[in-house]
Each structure stands twice: as structure tokens, then as C-alpha cells.
């Protein structure tokens, strides 16, 4: 069963962010919501995560858990990286196993050496990786990623793309970003958002072969950059 967004409307104060917005997302693969800041990407993600409810319409989710990497890290400041990841495993696993699985998740994001450090001892990019490890450890059939690579250096990003590419084979990964390269590297379909009220200005299918072709990837990245307002282009 796919994620179905059915005719949702949402108003914040007097601003109508969504007006009868509908979209169907596939069971697996990576869907990217691309657009400048303020185009409603994070609100859409929060609606799918169930953190906010639509005023009208409904969102159907497949049975199973939804895992999220929030725009802010949302880590417990008083807990180590490992404890932060272990936290989401405690419900289902005995402590020893949860600890071991948390360490494995940190290893997947190349952070096992910093497992005992608290968020205050980590860089911004490292904190993002802890948040990603937490979401990976939690599992579920939908993984929502809100600007997951912000603050990470290019080398780490390049190492993480294959991890997420592998993951999208078995679950739905929803990526929110305003960086064209991230969208091109991961997404199977890129929905360029405009508004508010949020609407899909354009949907771009990214064939697998395109990623291997540097020239075509760059060309798509440039095309996406051109869709951003001048002050959002970097």
C-alpha cells in the first residue's frame, strides 16, 4: 500500500499552505520534494509524519512505522550518540541488543568512533548523522528525510548516498531538499514544489542510468537550480 495524500487543506493563521492537495507516493524508491525555503516542503513532511493534521482531507500510510530525520537534529543533549540511537530501540529490544544495534547504525553512518560523545561534542554534520542513524535503526516502511545532509562535508555525503540508495530498494524514502545535487543523486522522481498554496509545479523522472552519466546529472542539477529563486541559488 502506497502513501496517499488525498485532497488535503491546511491553513496556518490566515495563510493557506495547502489547498486540496493530492499526491500518491510509491511503495518504494526515493521521492524528492524540491523547492526553495518556504515552499511547504517541511510542512508536507510533518503532515506525512503525522506531527500535524490537515484541516481537511486525509493521508493514508502503509501499515508499519514511519521514521524521520527532522530538519533540526532533535537529539537528547544529555545523552551520548549511542544512547540517542538506542532510545528508539528500547521498546522492542533488550538493552544489550539495543545497544549493539545502535552501534551498528552509527557504524553505517561512519560514526562508531564518536558513539560515546554527546551532541555538544559533535559537529553539525556529525549530529545529522546521529539523527540519520537513529532513523535507520528505527526502521519502518517509510523514511522521511528533511534536509538530511546539511552541514556534512562532500566526502561523507558521497559515502552516505550508496547507503540510502540501497535502502530505497525496499522502502519509500521521501527526501526534502533545496540542493539539486542531492535530489539528482538519490531521487527516482523529483517534485518541484511551488506556492503557497503548495502545488507541484513540475515532476521530473530520474532514470537510474542518468546518475552514472556525469554530464547529464550536471545538466539536470543546473536545470533544477534554475527553478530556484535567484536568492536561493548557491
Amino acid at each position: 500500500m502506497a502513501v496517499k495524500i488525498k485532497n488535503i487543506s491546511k491553513t496556518f493563521k490566515e495563510y493557506e499552505i495547502f489547498h486540496h492537495f493530492s499526491l500518491r507516493l510509491p511503495d518504494c524508491g526515493c521521492v524528492c520534494f524540491f523547492g526553495p525555503s518556504g515552499s511547504g516542503k517541511t510542512t508536507l513532511l510533518n503532515l506525512i509524519a503525522g506531527l500535524i493534521s490537515p484541516d481537511a482531507g486525509q493521508i493514508d500510510l502503509p501499515p508499519g512505522d514511519v521514521s524521520v530525520v527532522f530538519q533540526e537534529d532533535r537529539l537528547l543533549p544529555w545523552a551520548s550518540a549511542q544512547e540517542n540511537v538506542k532510545l528508539v530501540l528500547e521498546k522492542d529490544l533488550p538493552p544489550k541488543e539495543a545497544r549493539a544495534q545502535a552501534l551498528r547504525a552509527l557504524k553505517a553512518v561512519f560514526l562508531e568512533e564518536s558513539a560515546k560523545k554527546r551532541p555538544s561534542g559533535l559537529s553539525g554534520g556529525m549530529r545529522r548523522r546521529v539523527a540519520l542513524a537513529r532513523a535507520l535503526a528505527y526502521g519502518g516502511c517509510v523514511l522521511l528525510l528533511d534536509e538530511p545532509f546539511s552541514g556534512m562535508d562532500a566526502q561523507i555525503k558521497n559515502a552516505l548516498f550508496p547507503v540510502l540508495s540501497e535502502l530505497k530498494k525496499e522502502k519509500l524514502v521521501v527526501l526534502v531538499t533545496h540542493y539539486p545535487e542531492e535530489a539528482v543523486r538519490l531521487a527516482d522522481v523529483i517534485h518541484v514544489l511551488a506556492g503557497p498554496p503548495v502545488r507541484i509545479a513540475e515532476s521530473i523522472l530520474v532514470p537510474d542510468g542518468l546518475r552514472e552519466d556525469t554530464e547529464k546529472s550536471l545538466s539536470l542539477s543546473r536545470a533544477l537550480t534554475a527553478r530556484l529563486p535567484a536568492d536561493s541559488q548557491s
Binding site: 506531527l51 512505522d65 527532522f70 533540526e72 532533535r74 544529555w78 560515546k116
Partner: protein, 282 residues
């Protein structure tokens, strides 16, 4: 030291609670700290001596030497320890009861807005009512031994309730949303989000509350005159104009309050250490 290091060090000092003075205190050795405390105590005892020397009337101000001697004599009697222990038990009981009820009611009020609306006016009334009024009413309702417990409870309970309620309210909304998404159990949310948020507020409430409990409890003992209590001894000293006794018993109350505060707050701080935001390696 480079300029940036000096700048960083200055910034750190200004960020410390208590400002630059607290930062300087942090850099002193234990020996220096002890010497400083002894010096401060010596200065104030000298001021006391000076005042006693100027006034020259034992009925108004007792000399530090006589107070110390009186304390020594009191300490060698069994009655002193019975009175001290009885007062200690009553006041600590009132304080702990206030902590338990204050915390429970704060949680209830956070869970139910009706409970908040129901209890908030009562707590406001308790806070605004002079403690002496409660003591007099309690003397009508209760036996004299229970009145100090009741008075200490009423002084501490609103402080604990308000601080714990605020602490719960201050819990990070982003962390609560995270807990919702990852379906953390209620126990896990309490342990990992609420308790760390409440801890600084709770410690502050207890810090203030202990002193208040002693003040209210002793006042209740003075008015109620229960058998075996510090307040009863103070009342007797007042009746017979034994100023030295008033000073000696007051010194006992101050010492007990400070010791209880140090022990209890030290225990709480130790318990809350894991929630400290300072980086810990290992």
C-alpha cells in the same frame, strides 16, 4: 595565551551563573577556598563582637563566646538532642510531604487542564495567606505536634508545585514530537525528556523550600509549643529573657538548615548529573 583564548575564557566566565566572581571562585584551590571562608566567618564574628562590645547589654546581644559555651552545655544534655531531633523530623516530614504532593499535583495539572483550573486558585490562596494564619487555624484543627509539619508543608508545597509545573511545561516540544514519531513509551518520554527538563526547576524549588520549611516549622513550634521542640525552647528563652539561649537555639536551626540543604541538594545534584549539559567523555 593568545588573544582569542583570552576572549574565549572571558566569554566562558561571563556565561557562568554568578558571572566573573563565580568564575574566579572556580579557579581557586580548595585550600584558598577554605581560607577565604574562614576569613569571611572571622570578619562577621568580629562584627558581632564589636556590636556586643558597643551595646554592652547581655539582654540585647549575647557574646559569641557565651553562645558557644551555652551550645556546649546544651549539647551535653539529653533534652537538647530530643528537642533537636523532634523538630528535625517534623520539619523534614513536612518538607518531604510537600515535595511528594507538589510533584504529583504538578503532573496531574499538566495532564488535565480541569485539574489546573481546580487547584490553581487554592495554591494562589495558600501562597498569599500569612503562615501565622495557617498556624493558628492548624492549632485549632490539629494536635500541636502536627502543626509544624503542616506549616512546613504549606510553605513548600506551592513552590514545588509551581516549579515542577513550569519544568514540565518547559520540556522541548521538538523532543516531544520526536518521541511521538518514534513511538517512545510514556516511561521513556518521562525519563528522557520530562525529568531532565524538570530537574533544574525541582532543585531550585528544593533549595528555596528547605529554608522556608525551617522558618515556618519553627514559627509553628513557637506558637504551638509542642513537647520537645526547638521552637518550644526558643519560646521559653523569650519568656525568661534568656537572650543567650535564643542565640544558641537559633544557631542550631541555622546549622541544621544548612546541613539538610547541603545533603539534600548534593544528593539531587548527584542524581541530576547525568542530565548536565557539560560534555562528558568516555
Amino acid at each position: 595565551m593568545t588573544r582569542s583564548t583570552i576572549q574565549n575564557s572571558k566569554n566562558t566566565q561571563n556565561r557562568l551563573p554568578g558571572g566573573p566572581a563565580a568564575a574566579r571562585e572556580l579557579h581557586r584551590s580548595p585550600l584558598q577556598k577554605a581560607a577565604r571562608r574562614i576569613l569571611v566567618a572571622a570578619i562577621w564574628i568580629a562584627v558581632w563582637y564589636l556590636a556586643w562590645g558597643i551595646v554592652q547589654q547581655e539582654i540585647l546581644i549575647a557574646s559569641p563566646g557565651e553562645v558557644l559555651l551555652r551550645l556546649w552545655r546544651l549539647g551535653s544534655t539529653g533534652d537538647f538532642w530530643v528537642s533537636t531531633l523532634s523538630s528535625l523530623l517534623r520539619i523534614v516530614a513536612g518538607f518531604l510531604l510537600a515535595v511528594a504532593v507538589g510533584c504529583a499535583l504538578a503532573v496531574l495539572c499538566r495532564l488535565s487542564s480541569f485539574a489546573y483550573d481546580l487547584f490553581y486558585p487554592v495554591i494562589r490562596i495558600i501562597r498569599a495567606t500569612p503562615v501565622a494564619s495557617f498556624i493558628i487555624l492548624a492549632l485549632i484543627w490539629l494536635n500541636t505536634g502536627s502543626v509544624p509539619v503542616f506549616a512546613s508543608f504549606l510553605m513548600v508545597f506551592p513552590i514545588v508545585w509551581e516549579n515542577v509545573y513550569r519544568g514540565i511545561h518547559s520540556a522541548d516540544k521538538n523532543l516531544l514530537a520526536m518521541a511521538k514519531v518514534f513511538r517512545l513509551t510514556k516511561g521513556s518520554v518521562a525519563r528522557n525528556v520530562y525529568i531532565p527538563s524538570v530537574m533544574p526547576y525541582f532543585i531550585a524549588a528544593c533549595n528555596i523550600g528547605i529554608g522556608m520549611a525551617w522558618k515556618a516549622g519553627i514559627a509553628a513550634e513557637i506558637l504551638g509549643v509542642p513537647l520537645h521542640s526547638i521552637g518550644t525552647e526558643l519560646y521559653r528563652a523569650k519568656i525568661y529573657l534568656e537572650t543567650v539561649d535564643v542565640f544558641a537555639w537559633t544557631a542550631v536551626v541555622i546549622a541544621l538548615s544548612v546541613v539538610i540543604e547541603k545533603v539534600f541538594i548534593g544528593f539531587l545534584k548527584k542524581a541530576g548529573e547525568q542530565y548536565s549539559l557539560m560534555e562528558q567523555e568516555g
